[in-house]
Symmetry: C2
Subunit: 315 residues, 2 copies
């Protein structure tokens, strides 16, 4: 069974990792948000691609939730002393990724190709694809500071400003990265990882052609990023509130209605199941929290098992 | 008494440091070779500027002779794993320098200005000036590999290829960095540090206007980089041999004849003093080896004391 996962930050990386531990590598393609990408210290930083890759390679930092395990901060500390930007921390090992990527991009190599090269070195076998090779930048419209580039909102301002909207600049002129549409077309199912629907999944859908391809699919399963109205990590719940919505898995289902067929919500939210089914989505209720690697595998299995045998070609 | 020092690699950095420990900061300007500069991992690396600055800041690596003390190699090790260039090692702290410098240069700031900013942060008070803000690249003509960029000859090939000549590409179109000619014009004496005459001092002299300014000076003192026909560090002796010359302080004196008035040679080379005086240079004989900081200060004092009172304005 061929699967495409759509992923953003840490939650996305976790379910992608669970899927990678079950599926044959050639059967899994992970399409990753690049709207968070930015330039820092003159380097091209791709936070979501790195979160997914570091998790799949097994050297993600489980304490911080970003960056690499067993990290040192010697370059960062020196850059601070030199008056450099210190609002975004890059560890020494992490720096190697950005240096290599930036060097290859400067040579004219496309991000999807550079990502494949990095994955090859890190012995990551499923395909990890940026949503696009073109520059797409997520900007956050805030009440206090106007429009902010995503990382400034997210890291520099610690998600504190109130959000009133988003822009995915460059999206309308972007093309899906090579392989993205083909992977979606060939997939037996699409898994929408528990990533922020607005700023992780949203930019992927904003790349022309991707949502159309998803709408052609018969089996799209999402895992809600909210449990009991709260995000496991990140500002999703806060954003829903500031945009005038009640943060809950029901809101996520409304968000995804029209192209997602089935949603996983947590057992604590089971009273929402009826309202979600009324929207036309199937619902699975269970423990969707992924704390340890076993949780990722368990949830990935549940997600894969939603697919009717008639669709997956299995009998 | 105002002093200008011309410096290249480690020997240059050592005498410059000795001078900096004696003179008032406003009385010392160090003009540094930039012919060794190159791009590595997409960053602008300036080995000689860094050798001088790290020494003056007191955090140079005394074990390797280059780079920073208490260094870690985590980015380097990761870059190696990713298949990146590993023939030139950059430590994590050192990396911060190149990242900051590259960022500022990309913003259009001149190298001399960036160097001043770094020195300010490192609390280096004498002026450290690159010879030029323009791109000048030392190429080494070798028997085995043809023309090699300096760092490839020096580091990648470990100075093994036989040398038949040098090119300082871009030199004829370069201009001295702001302050270089003024510092020379205002100096009471010029100290030519014990750097490689061909590839450390040579490129400085190749910048149009610098040699002319030096020729106008009444007191130019050099310290030989050779002791008993051997370089304290680096390929100077090997280069003289390969170019068909007998490596010795006499050869250095011949090299500098016409603009250097006085040369310091080591006591073991005292039998060369007569031949050097016959070339028209004054000679001081003594211990010119700089092992510890005290040696740097002692040698710097000897160099400064060569200046006749009538020239220095002291009475």
């Amino acid at each position: 069974m061929k699967v495409v996962a759509l992923a953003g930050g840490v939650g996305g990386a976790k379910l992608a990792d669970g899927l990678a531990r079950i599926l044959s590598p050639q059967d899994l393609t992970i399409i990753v948000n690049t709207g968070d990408d930015f330039e820092h210290w003159g380097l091209n930083v791709c936070p979501d691609l790195d979160s997914v890759c570091y998790m799949l390679a097994g050297f993600n930092n489980t304490v911080t939730g970003w960056g690499r395990a067993d990290e040192s901060w010697n370059a960062f500390e020196e850059i601070k002393k030199l008056g450099g930007d210190d609002w975004f921390r890059i560890g020494d090992k992490d720096l190697a990724t950005h240096l290599m990527r930036s060097g290859r991009l400067r040579q004219g190599v496309r991000l999807s190709q550079v990502t494949a090269e990095l994955c090859n070195r890190w012995q990551i076998r499923p395909a990890v694809l940026p949503m696009t090779d073109d520059p797409v930048y997520t900007w956050v419209q805030t009440v206090e500071h106007g429009l902010l580039p995503f990382q400034q909102y997210f890291v520099q301002h610690g998600c504190r400003p109130r959000v009133s909207g988003f822009e995915f600049r460059g999206a309308q002129d972007s093309k899906p990265a090579p392989g993205v549409i083909m992977a979606i077309d060939e997939a037996d199912m699409i898994a929408v990882c528990p990533s922020n629907p607005m700023v992780s999944i949203g930019p992927i859908l904003a790349v022309p052609g991707i949502l159309d391809a998803l709408r052609r699919k018969k089996w799209v399963v999402a895992v809600s990023p909210l449990i009991n109205g709260k995000a496991v990590k990140g500002p999703a719940a806060k954003m829903y509130e500031e945009l005038g919505m009640q943060p809950s898995s029901l809101e996520v289902a409304k968000h995804y209605r029209g192209w997602v067929h089935h949603i996983f919500i947590d057992a604590v939210d089971q009273d929402l199941a009826g309202s979600i089914r009324a929207l036309g989505l199937d619902v699975s209720v269970g423990n969707i929290m992924m704390s340890a690697a076993e949780d990722r595998i368990r949830l990935a299995e549940l997600v894969l098992n939603t697919v009717p045998n008639t669709l997956s070609g299995l009998s």
